[in-house]
Symmetry: D4
Subunit: 77 residues, 8 copies
């Protein structure tokens, strides 16, 4: 059973357009949007299990230059 999450992402000022392209290129990212409000980008991510979703966020999203903070919400149903 795959797991899915919404990652809420804050980016360094002036970097939103660059960062969203890099996020869309991450394997498992289903969609990503620039949004108004507390966070700059909301992305929907899919992975095989909780462990590999955690890895994807820590290794593939957190390491994108310009990503400043992420808050991840697991989809339960």
């Amino acid at each position: 059973m795959t797991v899915c999450a919404f990652a809420h992402i804050q980016v360094k000022m002036g970097k939103a357009n660059e960062v969203i392209e890099a996020i869309k290129a991450v394997n498992g990212v289903k969609e990503a949007h620039i949004v108004t409000g507390e966070f700059d980008i909301i992305a929907k991510i899919e992975a095989d299990d909780l462990k590999s979703l955690g890895d994807k966020v820590l290794k593939n999203i957190h390491t994108i230059k310009g990503v400043y903070r992420t808050v991840t919400s697991m989809i339960v149903t």
Copy 2:
């Protein structure tokens, strides 16, 4: 040009399963999920323009019994 938003929804304790069914039935709601974290439900909503999206949230989401607080993020791109 239609507008789209993520509505982040807190529900009264014990009401998440009821509320999500009501939200999914709202015209323009594309998807809705129970999630972990600060909010209980994240829904993606589409409307004809900002004004009618505002109306949808104020009149069709806020009035669902068990909805406690909503925070809406407009999709910019």
Copy 3:
């Protein structure tokens, strides 16, 4: 010298349209808008001094039926 503040207001679900009319009727409220995001209404309020601005918020805004929480930011310049 008058003082000025932005009041950020959360309202009970389903009450935004009623509440904003009541807020606009408060003496000293210069403008009030329904907004997306963490708060439902942002209003700009003017008063003679800090004490009377505090009174206005505590006695004229907090007592409006449907107002749930307010966070006030004083304008410094």
Copy 4:
């Protein structure tokens, strides 16, 4: 593989001592503490998978009288 989470719980004023006893009685709750800060209680919960952990929070924690809001953080590693 079991999954584990920290549930951060706000309780209705005057209910912390009652609520914590009810939380400790929930199957899968490993520990629960009254704490200072943004939340009143932090509990560690274990379940068979993400779906059943979600159920436990929605059906067994949210329904405790006096629980006001919960924010759940999944343990990734």
Copy 5:
């Protein structure tokens, strides 16, 4: 060695003046003020130790009618 804390208190709308009088009457409360911003009242509380400070907040502050939420910050130095 006594311990000391700042309690940040949100009150039900329209109750700030009543609540602050009740808070000032709690044994160990050194000062209490109505403030602008995220919280409505900030109070400074002293107790014999962490356990009795927790008790004071849970039993004497949380039980005041009109207190809605408290967030306590322990003074470390």
Copy 6:
């Protein structure tokens, strides 16, 4: 139909006076104030549509040296 928003802006420490001058110079900024509370500056911005308001924030506000974080609330009515 033009769209309007409140941008809430945090600035790098020591930069508020410089940043507010730069913000006031952005085309479409109707007013901007240094405020107390969670954010340092609140600005009211007008644009032709949601897309161009998003661009204005991402390209003209986020790129001001000393701007640290922005949270934008769309005015619905």
Copy 7:
């Protein structure tokens, strides 16, 4: 009539002890404490009026090396 405020201060990691000494040395700072929770330091500040309190925060607190973010709550009563 003097005005008074609580400044809630976040400091760069490892800098709390240095920063609190610098804050205590600012003219008008009545007390300052290292605390647990969302903020690292809470200080009580007095000034002649709102404008000069704002200046004190912007010019004397924000410019202390190691201060990262401040949130100021005006004392109303």
Copy 8:
């Protein structure tokens, strides 16, 4: 009587795996986990008293390279 706390820790992007190893090595840290949500790591820390717990956080956790922000909740019971 020992005191105990949950430290909620945000880390610089890309540093979670390094930081958690350093945190686990701090004397008094009973457990530490990478988690989803607002914070990246939750650790449980024990110390002899409030003062020495504060010292541990300020001197041993805040000084770990890659730690960005910590919010500490004291366990009351």
